[in-house]
């Protein structure tokens, strides 16, 4: 029976689907130079879908719908809103991409992966989880390799595809073991059937490892991070931004659901594994970010380390931990999209992506310089930007559950982070363009960039100051896990 509740639970996905079909229908009729308008349509449509979902698709008490495939709760809903916001921003950033922005397929693929991510955030069944992960991944494989005659982009697409399929196959093997031992694919039933009495810790350990290969790949946590720098560097910049934010956040959504809901009985085992992964990821990510000279590779390694910080909240395995992860994801999505958006806006005009090419940016476009300041200070975890509050929350969760050593590792790493983030700002603010007058080399922003970046920068500041409501929603979501 198709009740209104079922309809409401997948309302955002239905709207995204409609939007994608609309673009597919209209795009062939547009002239070449009008096709970039598909970006306006995507972004506007997504924002409208968010409004409609907020009005008609809000969850009440958490329920399982569609035969237990999907859970309709605040956690899924809040994350869906975040993903759709990220998708809208990505669409705006994509519009003026020289080679991808005028092709309607790019937006349709974006929407398709967005639908997959939305379902990832809501799935409560292993089958549905796997399907949604693949739905989210396959369009991004194509998007990463979207620029056909560019070697790096092709390499990025191919690399992401190879790593991605390998990782998800291994994860599927883990899922099959879970099914084999429990006889069910529903996350709630697994929690009941798969207890410490029924399987040995060794097997549980193996299952967690296998599953983490796939999910670790999605969130690009060490040692499953090798694809990230190459893919970020090669993929069209907005796609890289999308990959590093929405895609990573969707991975965390699955991690939260899977481990908190299905494996609470083995928390001793998986918190141990995740704590080690978090510590290694923060350290390796930050240390490898230090020698980078390409801004996109720097952001790639920084995003690896941020996966580690967020993981502290998962390791804490309590309400504050889960809420802090969700809040961290919100702050991180806004911040990192802002960073990638600026990189995109700058390289569109200059065609340059080395950190040293950013010399004199604050004179060439003061607004862009300030926004870069906000983005990088937020990444470094400085107030009044979202990154600070998010970090304090995950650290608080870590200290609360006695993972003080992990928090100390995190703190040492944020000090390393401050160093290389400030190093970038040094180029932006301190250095001048060699032998040239900056006044003659302005970096103008087109309308979509201005809109997207200003909204994102406001988001970063709001998340860092008036964080009350956002934490409230994160917490409401976290409550659904227990």
């Amino acid at each position: 029976m198709f009740t209104s509740q079922i309809f409401a639970s997948i309302l955002p996905e239905i709207l995204i689907l409609v939007l994608g079909v609309l673009i597919l229908i209209f795009e062939p009729f547009w002239k070449e130079d009008q096709r970039r308008n598909a970006g306006w349509l995507t972004a506007g449509g997504l924002l409208l879908s968010m409004v409609i979902s907020l009005l008609f698709g809000r969850p009440g008490e958490p329920v399982a719908v569609l035969g237990g495939m999907i859970r309709f709760d605040w956690l899924g809903f809040f994350l869906k809103m975040l993903f759709m916001f990220a998708g809208a921003a990505t669409a705006l950033l994509l519009m003026d991409h020289e080679r991808a922005g005028k092709r309607g397929e790019a937006y349709v693929l974006l929407l398709a992966s967005l639908m997959g991510m939305n379902l990832m955030a809501a799935s409560s069944d292993l089958v549905m989880l796997y399907l949604s992960i693949e739905t989210a991944s396959i369009p991004i494989y194509i998007l990463a390799g979207f620029i056909l005659n560019d070697e790096r982009s092709t390499e990025a697409g191919f690399k992401y595809l190879l790593y991605g399929t390998l990782a998800s196959t291994i994860m599927l093997y883990g899922f099959s073991l879970v099914f084999g031992f429990s006889g069910t694919t529903s996350l709630d039933d697994i929690a009941v059937k798969l207890t410490s009495g029924t399987i040995s810790p060794l097997i549980a350990f193996g299952i967690v490892l296998l599953v983490m290969v796939g999910l670790g790949f999605k969130v690009s946590i060490v040692p499953f991070h090798f694809w990230a720098p190459d893919v970020y560097q090669g993929a069209p910049t907005p796609v890289a931004g999308y990959l590093s934010t929405a895609s990573k956040a969707a991975g965390f959504a699955v991690i939260l659901r899977l481990f908190f809901v299905a494996f609470p009985d083995f928390s001793g085992i998986w918190t141990m594994i995740l704590a080690v992964l978090a510590a290694v990821s923060m350290t390796v990510g930050n240390l490898l970010a230090l020698p980078q000279t390409n801004i996109k590779r720097l952001l790639a390694y920084s995003s690896i380390s941020h996966a580690g910080y967020a993981m502290i909240g998962v390791v804490a395995f309590n309400q504050l931990g889960a809420a802090s992860v969700v809040f961290y994801l919100a702050a991180y999505i806004a911040t990192n999209l802002l960073a990638f958006g600026i990189v995109m806006a700058y390289s569109r005009i200059t065609g340059l992506e080395e950190i040293s090419d950013y010399a004199g940016l604050s004179r060439r476009n003061p607004l862009l310089g300030l926004m870069m300041l906000a983005a990088f200070l937020s990444l470094a975890g400085m107030p009044p930007f979202g990154g600070f509050v998010a970090k304090v929350f995950v650290f608080a969760a870590g200290v609360q559950t006695g993972y003080t050593w992990l928090v100390i590792v995190g703190i040492i790493n944020s000090i390393i982070g401050v160093y290389y983030y400030l190093n970038v700002l040094k180029f932006v603010y301190l250095y001048r363009m060699p032998d040239q007058d900056e006044e003659q080399h302005l970096v103008p922003l087109t309308q979509p960039y201005t809109i997207a970046l200003v909204i994102l920068v406001i988001g970063v500041i709001v998340l860092g100051t008036l964080f009350g409501p956002f934490y409230n929603w994160s917490d409401a979501g976290a409550l659904n896990l227990f």
């Binding site: 400085m382 650290f395 608080a396 003080t404 160093y419 964080f467």
Partner: protein, 506 residues
């Protein structure tokens, strides 16, 4: 409801900074005018707070403002503002330094002088105000989370201010060193703060970052002994405590004048104040156990800082190390944990803030005009800039602890307090007074009264009217407190009573 004066004081600089950023880049004078207007309003408001507190019965925390910021289990953050006898003078100090800092940075459009901030003043004032807002926030916050929030806001603009507008030769190195030192200190203290939050919850079931509640959290002596040093030293790094003072003179030297004034005048107090408020007041047992170590560190800073200042040939390095020495006195006062010493420390924070801001202001004026800060290359400034000379001499007298000036009112109780605890330390540290007197007098003679070197003849002009106003303002406060200690000492001692109550004495 009362007028939320502390919120206005704290958030006005942020608002002014945003406004300044939105102004067109080429309207430099309008930018400066907006900055000055905001600074004047903040100075008047902070003076109003100070006077109100002074004229009231001077008890406890006043001008309390409390707003729920986030109260969702298990996080409880409030925007809780209030001042006591310890923080009210520091709020006033920040207002003074902000006002004079803007005046000094106004600049002189004479191409020959190139004083003040000529390159991108819009961004400069915006970042400076971000810093100022953060500093106000720390002094008035009674909520530990908010204290950290503002503390970090006060730290990172320093990087930009020094790196962008600083002295070309060392600015990158100094700015990065400073930021990393301070950031390490603050995050170490942050872990301690989080540990305190959860331990309070375990002990009393109260979830709150409110420091007034944390005072009664019943931390065990073992807990306090463990966490006192990370928390106290984490903040004291910003107070320039030996052996973590290394960032400070480098930062002073590299920073532009107004930022040096802020840095030495206010930021270092931020460290000492936060160390006192979070370290000593929330972990009093830990403070008692470790006070010997703090006293040792502070004592070394006092004597060693003075000696290093004595051998400097760069005027800014000299003042930078004299700041280490004088902030060592503040730490020394705190480490006594008795009423006399703490009162001295409180007054010294204000006195040193004004004095060192004056020193840096005058040094900046000299450098902008003579293009050198090397003491052997300077001379005869008294003829050219008599007003600045008088200011520098008054600052020197304060620095030496001459009676009649604020330095005496501050240093005398500190030494008394130390004598009560450890007379030997007091004797050793008093050597610093002699060294200070020596380097101050030698340098005043050389820089201001020796014959002017030939290469400077005719190139150096007098300071502007705005500069004179700044110098006069700063001198005024030092003399007033020196002559009428009763305008500050009783107020600080009420703040100290509060601390002594927590320490279980008095």
């Amino acid at each position: 409801m009362n007028f939320p004066i502390l919120s206005v004081i704290t958030f006005l600089p942020f608002a002014a900074g945003m406004l300044i950023l939105m102004m067109p880049a080429n309207r430099k004078n309008e930018t400066r005018a907006v900055a000055l207007a905001a600074a004047v309003i903040d100075l008047l408001l902070s003076a109003w707070v100070y006077l109100q507190y002074l004229l009231s019965d001077m008890r406890g925390y006043q001008f309390i403002e409390k707003y729920e910021w986030l109260n969702i289990f298990p996080i409880h953050i409030e925007l809780h503002f209030g001042v006591d006898g310890m923080s009210a003078p520091l709020v006033l100090l920040t207002g003074i330094v902000m006002f004079t800092g803007v005046l000094i940075s106004w600049g002189d459009d004479d191409k020959h002088v190139m004083a003040g901030i000529q390159d991108r003043p819009r961004e400069f004032f915006a970042f400076l105000f971000l810093l100022a807002g953060g500093v106000f926030g720390v002094f008035v916050s009674l909520d530990l989370f908010m204290l950290f929030f503002f503390y970090e806001i006060a730290v990172f603009p320093m990087y930009l201010l020094i790196a962008i507008w600083g002295w070309v030769k060392t600015r990158e190195y100094a700015a990065m060193k400073l930021t990393l030192y301070l950031f390490i200190g603050s995050v170490v203290a942050l872990v301690g703060a989080l540990a305190m939050y959860w331990t309070q919850y375990q002990n009393t079931g109260v979830l709150s970052f409110d420091m007034l509640k944390m005072e009664g959290a019943g931390f065990s002596p073992e807990f306090q002994a463990l966490w006192f040093l990370p928390v106290f030293l984490g903040f004291a790094v910003l107070g320039g405590i030996w052996p973590f003072h290394n960032w400070s003179p480098d930062g002073h030297v590299a920073a532009p004048t107004a930022v040096s004034m802020f840095h030495a005048g206010v930021l270092m107090k931020l460290g000492a104040f936060a160390a006192l408020r979070v370290g000593v007041m929330l972990l009093p047992e830990g403070a008692k156990q470790w006070s010997w170590l703090i006293m040792l560190f502070a004592g070394v800073a006092v004597v060693y800082g003075a000696y290093i200042a004595f051998v400097q040939t760069d005027l800014k390095y000299m003042i930078g190390f004299s700041s280490v020495s004088h902030m060592g006195l503040v730490m020394l006062g705190i480490s006594t944990l008795n009423t006399t010493g703490l009162t001295g420390a409180g007054v010294q924070m204000f006195s040193h803030g004004v004095m060192t801001a004056l020193f840096f202001a005058v040094t900046g004026m000299i450098y902008d005009r003579a293009h050198t800060r090397m003491i052997p290359e300077l001379g005869g400034m008294a003829k050219i800039m008599p007003f600045a000379t008088i200011g520098f001499i008054i600052g020197g007298l304060v620095s030496m602890g001459m009676p009649g000036f604020s330095g005496f009112v501050a240093e005398f109780p500190i030494f008394m307090g130390v004598w009560e605890e450890q007379w030997l330390v007091a004797v050793i540290c008093s050597i610093s007074i002699i060294i200070t007197a020596a380097y101050i007098m030698i340098n005043i003679r050389k820089v201001f009264f020796s014959p002017m070197p030939e290469n400077l003849e005719g190139h150096v002009g007098d300071i502007t009217v705005l500069d004179k106003i700044a110098v006069a303002t700063l001198c005024l406060f030092m003399v007033i407190i020196g002559v009428f200690p009763s305008v500050m000492v009783p107020m600080v001692s009420t703040g100290v009573e509060n601390i002594m109550r927590l320490l279980g004495g008095a």
